[in-house]
């Protein structure tokens, strides 16, 4: 198929190629306008969607939107493509694929079988013609479970990454925030700190701190210090207790270069973490977010959502324990307001889940975006219904190190109670054992005198060198 066009009411809309159709079919967002790839009018956007709906899925496999020779992410996606798995849907167009996904007879079982046969771009394409409710109801069918010390992603469960950041990486400040988060049932996805500096020594201190807290309180969870992957490898070489290895990734080789990472380096980190045998073979934690390729000036003229889906193609090759989009962090020049952030969050979750990734979401915004905590409530609720694996638990939703707003410990309780979801099974049992919640998953009243963690918490807060 070499001609990309659609005819609406006698008017012919022509597009320059597959990438152009994808970009122009994208629901409005500021980053695509900034990149100069967005539709010029609302009608042109729908014309592109008509055109996209007619394109056979196989087109995306035949003609990679970034050439195989030019990009290692494309090579990874093409080389790991399972043509046999693609078989059952190989005859479908993008529009027919949407209908296939929505059918009652298309269950988690079918979706997990076709997943290895999907190109990320096929999912990006179909998402562009789906409504928000489509993105929710199809993603909801998919169950992706991962396991380290806790099990994340089981149907009926919702996990939280406890994010106890501190502007000076103060060990006691971080410890205090972790204790508060645990008391609200947070931390079953991971206890993960974004360090304030890129000091390897401080990273090592933080890794030791987290491992000490997890061991002292015997928490069925895992830790991560989210510095650069090379620093984490350095720390592992020095014997640091590293559970999960973190890295930000994106959908093009050039963007990943700007992050200072490559497939080879990620493989090296994965091998190092696996060799520590601290909990399982799923040792990777990735973060992504629409707009990073444009921000790195490495977007190949493509739209930000398609590029984001390609990042999931890269992630998939590493069988991660966790992956989440940091959806509103990048700022209003990429996602302007609550509406755009919401749409992007649902798209990201859908595309990643359909690739069988253990997708979570940092539902968030910065103060220069047109968004507030009500928008976070909305997106968190929508993603909760869609079966999102985990959210962030940030004290009061206010990250005092990264200076942005996310979701809080209280929000975690809100979403679990409202949607009748439980923490990860192992962690849920621990919460009951520690007297934090009852059998029904409700927080118990606080009685400090009887608290099973007060003494240990005070011990952790008074340690030498903290």
């Amino acid at each position: 198929m070499n001609v990309f066009q659609s005819t609406i009411g006698g008017k012919v809309h022509r597009f320059k190629g597959l990438g152009d159709v994808l970009a122009k079919a994208s629901p409005l967002r500021s980053g695509d306008i900034l990149a100069g790839v967005a539709a010029h009018s609302e009608e042109q956007r729908v014309a592109a969607q008509y055109c996209l709906a007619e394109i056979p899925l196989v087109e995306f496999a035949k003609h990679p939107i970034i050439p195989y020779e030019n990009d290692e992410v494309t090579r990874l996606i093409c080389d790991s493509w399972d043509k046999a798995a693609f078989g059952p849907i190989s005859h479908l167009t993008v529009g027919e694929f949407r209908e296939y996904l929505l059918q009652d007879s298309t269950t988690n079982q079918q979706l997990s079988k076709i997943a290895p046969g999907l190109f990320p771009e096929m999912l990006a394409a179909v998402s562009k013609i789906m409504r928000n409710q489509d993105l929710i109801s199809v993603a909801r069918k998919v169950e992706v479970m991962t396991r380290f010390r806790s099990t994340v992603g089981k149907k009926g469960h919702l996990s939280i990454r406890l994010q106890p950041n501190h502007p000076t990486d103060d060990l006691k400040g971080i410890t205090a925030a972790i204790i508060d988060g645990l008391l609200y049932g947070c931390g079953d996805a991971v206890i993960g700190i974004n360090p304030a500096t890129d000091s390897v020594g401080r990273m090592h201190d933080l890794q030791i701190l987290l491992s000490r807290i997890i061991e002292t309180l015997d928490i069925p969870t895992q830790s991560c210090v989210l510095g650069h992957v090379t620093n984490q490898i350095d720390c592992m070489n020095k014997g640091a207790p590293v559970d999960l290895v973190f890295q930000s990734i994106a959908g093009t080789e050039l963007t990943n270069q700007s992050f200072g990472v490559s497939v080879k380096l990620l493989r090296e980190a994965q091998d190092a973490a696996r060799s520590l045998k601290r909990g399982g073979s799923q040792v990777m934690y990735f973060e992504t977010g629409q707009g990073s390729c444009l921000s790195a000036n490495a977007h190949h003229g493509l739209d930000q959502q398609t590029l984001e889906a390609r990042a999931y193609g890269l992630a998939k090759a590493f069988d991660p324990f966790l992956i989440n989009t940091v959806v509103g962090f990048i700022g209003p020049e990429y996602l302007y307001d609550g509406k755009q952030i919401t749409r992007a969050g649902l798209e990201d979750h859908f595309c990643a889940k359909l690739m069988q990734l253990p997708m979570g979401c940092d539902v968030c915004y910065t103060n220069h975006a047109e968004a507030d905590q009500d928008d976070m409530d909305n997106l968190m609720t929508l993603l909760g219904v869609a079966g999102c694996n985990y959210f962030m638990g940030v004290p009061g939703a206010d990250d005092i190190m990264l200076n942005y707003q996310s979701t809080s410990f209280h929000d975690a309780q809100y979403i679990r109670q409202t949607l009748n979801l439980r923490a990860s099974p192992e962690f849920d049992a621990w919460l009951q054992k520690m007297g934090i919640q009852d059998q029904a998953g409700q927080l118990l009243p606080v009685d400090l005198a009887k608290s099973k963690i007060k003494n240990q918490a005070q011990g952790l807060l008074s340690l030498e060198g903290s």
Partner: protein
């Protein structure tokens, strides 16, 4: 259950993070909801604030050297937020005005640029004292201070265009940071040696978190002068300029991370 006073309150002595807030059911106590909204409202107001030029010029008290007001290519605050590149280039009228005051054979050692960035409120509050201290401090050196420029709708890189047009050897830009909930009036100093439009962030040094409960404008002014002297001596700036501030423990806040590009 309702728990508006959290028994774990003692945890708060270790961090200013929003912990031990109490709860009503799973919700926040009302005063916490309102406190958060107040902080967010101030941050939002700061983002959308504009420099009050008349008031700033009066507060700066620079009778002998009235500041020059310039603007980037942005046509509005919304344009500024949506198109970072527009905020990195001077509009034509400003460019011409600066060219008219620039002197080909009389290069200033440094120009001082006051820029709104993402918090004009922060500039309005912090610029007068910082500029006063810096101007007084530089007088005790042999260094030549060029024009003082006030820039509207400015991103950090606009300083390159301004300083290069004025043939300055270095630029010091005081710019409003992206407001956080803890402070909506925080500003940063960005320093660039041999400014030109092809400079990037790796060529700059940053002193951040200048606000009422962070680094004082007084300390920041002296750090900026120290940075300037070091940079002119070594003829570079950015990640390759290695030095330590004197009395760093007293001058620096415990956090000084750049937040505004």
């Amino acid at each position: 259950m309702k728990l508006s006073h959290d028994p774990w309150f003692f945890l708060r002595e270790h961090t200013h993070a929003r912990i031990a807030l109490g709860r009503s059911g799973h919700g926040l106590p009302t005063h916490e909801i309102l406190e958060f909204r107040l902080a967010h409202s101030r941050a939002r107001d700061s983002v959308w604030s504009n420099i009050d030029l008349q008031r700033l010029q009066a507060d700066l008290k620079l009778e002998s050297q009235p500041p020059l007001a310039v603007s980037s290519k942005c046509t509005s605050k919304k344009d500024f937020l949506l198109n970072p590149n527009h905020g990195r280039q001077l509009d034509q009228a400003s460019k011409t005005a600066l060219q008219n005051v620039a002197s080909k054979d009389n290069h200033p050692d440094v120009v001082l640029i006051i820029a709104d960035g993402l918090s004009a409120n922060g500039i309005q509050v912090n610029a007068p004292l910082l500029v006063e201290e810096f101007v007084a401090a530089i007088k005790s050196t042999a260094l030549k201070l060029g024009p003082i420029v006030i820039a509207q709708y400015a991103r950090v890189a606009l300083g390159d265009d301004i300083a290069a047009t004025l043939n300055a050897k270095a630029s010091i830009m005081l710019i409003g940071e992206r407001p956080g909930l803890a402070s909506s009036e925080s500003v940063s100093v960005y320093f660039t040696y041999a400014p030109s439009v092809d400079r990037n962030d790796a060529d700059r040094n940053c002193i951040s978190n200048i606000h009422s409960s962070g680094l004082s404008p007084h300390a920041a002014a002296h750090m900026a002068l120290f940075l300037l002297q070091n940079s002119l001596q070594k003829q570079l700036s950015g990640v390759n300029l290695k030095f330590e501030y004197p009395d760093v423990s007293q001058l620096l806040p415990r956090s000084s991370l750049p937040k505004n590009t």
